[in-house]
Symmetry: C2
Subunit: 146 residues, 2 copies
């Protein structure tokens, strides 16, 4: 048995598992508002800057438009946002929050802190998170440039 193949030596398995479990931690906080975790990410993007074309949202999240489009359509069906054809460029669909979408920011105000405190532990804390962020940012940059 090669050491390289040991599950405990895999970075990807750790990232995959950590990502799944952390998403699971968000779900109970979001589901009451009819949201999934990727939909919450879209809200984060739109709260920062409203009325963006689909493409900009996808690029910000490093996702493809064929992933984002059905997600946005579900959010539109929920009345969280609207999709309107662009005026300058008729190919673009401009995504804009509704009042309901904007109001969700206040309703979800406690989410970051709740998840944050669920995550904090001996090895994840104020001292370790900056290095973790830096390493993950480097990894993401490395992987998205190819």
């Amino acid at each position: 048995m090669k050491e390289q193949f040991r599950l405990d030596n895999q970075l990807c398995f750790r990232l995959y598992t950590a990502s799944r479990l952390l998403t699971q931690a968000y779900n109970p906080l979001l589901s009451g508002h009819g949201l999934t975790y990727p939909q919450y990410l879209v809200l984060l993007v739109l709260w920062e800057k409203d009325s963006q074309p689909v493409n900009d949202i996808a690029k910000r999240l490093l996702l493809e438009t064929n992933t984002v489009t059905p997600l946005l359509k579900r959010m539109e069906a929920e009345g969280i946002l609207t999709r309107t054809q662009g005026k300058k460029d008729a190919r673009q669909m401009i995504v804009t929050l509704t009042k309901k979408g904007r109001d969700l920011q206040d309703e979800l105000a406690c989410v970051p802190e709740t998840v944050g405190s669920a995550v904090m532990c001996k090895s994840v804390n104020r001292d370790t998170v900056p290095a973790l962020f830096e390493t993950l940012d480097g990894l993401i940059k490395q992987l998205s440039q190819r």
Copy 2:
């Protein structure tokens, strides 16, 4: 705009993105052998210890059996493994690699190194990976205990 909601401050978005991108790095290496990344994880588990019940595989990967079962059935259809009813406990399905499944270990021998070198960069290297592993392990432990 609350600082807590900034996408760039989210641990989960980093993990989610890093996990997706790293999985994408595996796909071209696996797809030629008819494998997906989660199927590769199953192989890692079975190469370490063959002939395990579904439940043990699921627990090792921190997945639910309703995720693993269809995945195993696809792998069985590909001739990579067999699923046979347990003798001691008839509720258990024992998963065993076929010759094809065992041979895949040699065929995929270069995968860990190939992905490893694709990942290595200024911020992900011999010096930073141990701390990254430790932090992620702590996070996974924290999140799986609730």
